[in-house]
Symmetry: C2
Subunit: 375 residues, 2 copies
DNA sequence: CAAGCTAACATGTACGTACAACTTCAAAAT
DNA sequence: ATTTTGAAGTTGTACGTACATGTTAGCTTG
């Protein structure tokens, strides 16, 4: 069968499609009967039925026994022309991620893509389940937030399966070390650096830092925090660097903050918080010890979320464009799906900046017994 | 055609499916030829071809002209056995909705369903676009948060199309008046009633209420607020009932609160806020007028969100189980899809309760010139 | 005028014949 | 031993007949 002579049922199908596309028949209009089409096309009723059957299966027509065959409304067309994109996140209601999803969804909607959303509860086994389930669906691309990104990747085989299946994927916030997919993220190291730098430039010399180090984001923010201290020659007390993880985030930072705030000779003059959520929690620790922010201890958050302005003392916070991150991730994934993304250096990294509010102020001696011993 | 005697081509299809499911034939195994199946089943080759054609269309088999018919590998199966559920929301990053989605997604994941997420920006035209797009996908059910629920339903035809297509759907938070689908929601009227009742029982007699009335949730909360005043015989000043809408929510409530707080002779002794987000905003208005919560004016929020504990004065708030609402909605929709939902009285309504914190206290005269004139 | 009935019309199922196009395997040729 | 050819086998297209099931419109009756 060469190109010139297609099967008759294909030719009938194309004739009917041309009627639909030229709007000779509009949605819910009735087509000629099978008998009429048979005569019109000079083919048998069976051949007409085969053409109609294919168009029904594709959602272009619907049939009603005893009544006739009708043009389907646009909404009844199938998904052949609507790519399905998966978004796999750790926590759907995490206080930042909904804004990233919002940005992604707005781009995907605009581009006529359907978005599947799924979550892992920051648990590697659930990450695996989700990856398998999403792959079994009609997936054309995947945006992934890694799960406990600092703790390795036991689900590597699932990611390799995505590559085998030629499903493009990218990661947001961090990337598993052994994968080579693009990553769309904030420069967390720079964020931690800017936070500490801001406080150092305000004269603070005893700065505590609280970091959630089971995610690479926390590790990177800590790295920047340390780098600022080194560059500005400010000494750091080891007990002023607090690590915590998903499992103990409700208790450990609060307890350790209480402990260090209750000792006047060891008290930090400022605190860098891993994020605004933690900052709200440590604000309470400051109050509990009858100190004030920023009069007694300055504080800086991260993410510039709506929590930063919900508190009585508005938080100075490291800011980054959350919805835009989602948008750029979606745009990049679509480009990858279309084969129009550059093959190298595809990471997109947003530089954060500091939004100054009321929670940080210059360090003042204030009759304290403390003496600057650095610089 | 009654239940007992299915069409022959259906029976052949089921025979072949039973082979696949019992693993008599595994992925990539070759099935008996059409001629052999014809003899085995006692039907014509055409009938066998029809059964095979359906299974090919469903992705269970693939055929190779001149070679044979084979069982498709698992990853090539279509999503026939993984239902796809749409969730249509107004704002993905709305401070409450992510928790509802989280609850729904956890149930859907457990039940092996894929979840499509889409948003309308509380805009009716986008609601329409989304409904058309979701319907064009492989949708088996839909969970919908109505868009500006108090303002009618210009997209009724889209909802009727869902019914025509026999796609079950339900609504959360409110239902469009002319639709008869199930609704899963909080009893907003009771919530508004409890909020006002709580303040009245604390002795407050001049209570302001702020309600977002372009959503039926706001209208119902207002209704309960009014009912409490009527039942307890407390008079209500019209200027103490503030309506606002999506478009002016950033400005109008704040301005009107400032206005009423600045006039000592008209100042309310307590404020009912449509939600915690608004409460945080009105806390700032109270501060701006150098008043204190709860010493000078009590305040109660709604939703018991994490904003309620982010503030310095922890908010008394009307509480309801947000993630559970999402879970119940997903369970009900699955039951509807399986035909196991009761056909009547399917609404699920959660009774809210009050979580007492620090933002409300009993009314005291405090040297004010005010005199109780009611009760 | 409304309700019920029936015949005509339209799609759904099933069988059959015939030939086209492709694949596989065995036999023949090199 | 390897390559080529041809026959047999298998799926794909197309036509036809016959009957089942459901819908619709027109006619009749109350």
């Amino acid at each position: 069968m060469n190109e010139k002579t297609k099967p008759k049922h294909e030719q009938v199908k194309e004739m009917i499609l041309s009627w639909i596309e030229s709007e000779r028949y509009k949605p819910n209009d009735q087509l000629p009967t099978e008998h009429e089409l048979s005569e019109l096309s000079g083919t048998s009723r069976q051949t007409v039925r085969q053409a109609l059957g294919t168009l029904v299966q594709e959602g272009r027509l619907y049939r009603k026994q005893g009544s006739g065959t009708y043009v389907a409304a646009l909404s009844e067309r199938r998904t052949a022309d609507m790519p399905t994109i998966g978004v796999l996140t750790t926590y759907i209601s995490d206080y930042i991620f909904p804004q990233i999803v919002r940005g992604a969804e707005s781009v995907l909607r605009e581009q006529g893509c359907l978005m599947l959303l799924s979550s892992t509860d920051n648990d590697k086994a659930k990450e695996r389940d989700n990856l398998l389930m999403l792959q079994a669906g009609p997936l054309q691309g995947l945006i992934i937030e890694p799960t406990k990104s600092a703790q390795g990747n036991p689900n590597l085989d699932c990611y390799l399966a995505l590559e085998y299946m030629k499903i493009p994927y990218l990661m947001i916030n961090e990337r598993y070390a052994e994968l080579d997919c693009p990553c769309v993220k904030v420069d967390d190291e720079l964020g931690g650096y800017l936070a500490a730098k801001h406080l150092i430039e305000l004269g603070h010399f005893r700065i505590a830092g609280f970091f959630k180090t089971d995610d690479l984001q926390g590790t990177q923010r800590l790295k920047g925090f340390l780098r600022a201290h080194r560059e500005f020659g400010v000494q750091l007390r080891p007990e002023h660097v607090v690590h915590y993880a998903t499992e103990n985030k409700e208790t450990r930072p609060f307890e350790l903050a209480l402990t260090m705030l209750e000792k006047p000779e060891e008290r930090p003059t400022a605190i860098v918080c891993y994020n605004d959520e933690l900052a709200v929690r440590l604000l309470e620790a400051v109050r509990r010890t009858e100190l004030r922010v920023p009069e007694d201890v300055s504080m800086i958050g991260f993410d510039d979320s709506f929590l930063a302005t919900a508190t009585e003392v508005k938080l100075t916070s490291v800011s980054h464009p959350k919805a835009e991150l989602g948008m750029k991730a979606a745009e990049l994934l679509i480009a990858m799906m279309e084969g129009s993304a550059p093959s190298r250096n595809r990471d997109i990294i947003f530089a954060p900046d500091i939004v100054l509010r009321d929670s940080t102020k210059p360090y003042e001696k204030n009759g304290d017994k403390f003496v600057r011993t650095n610089v």
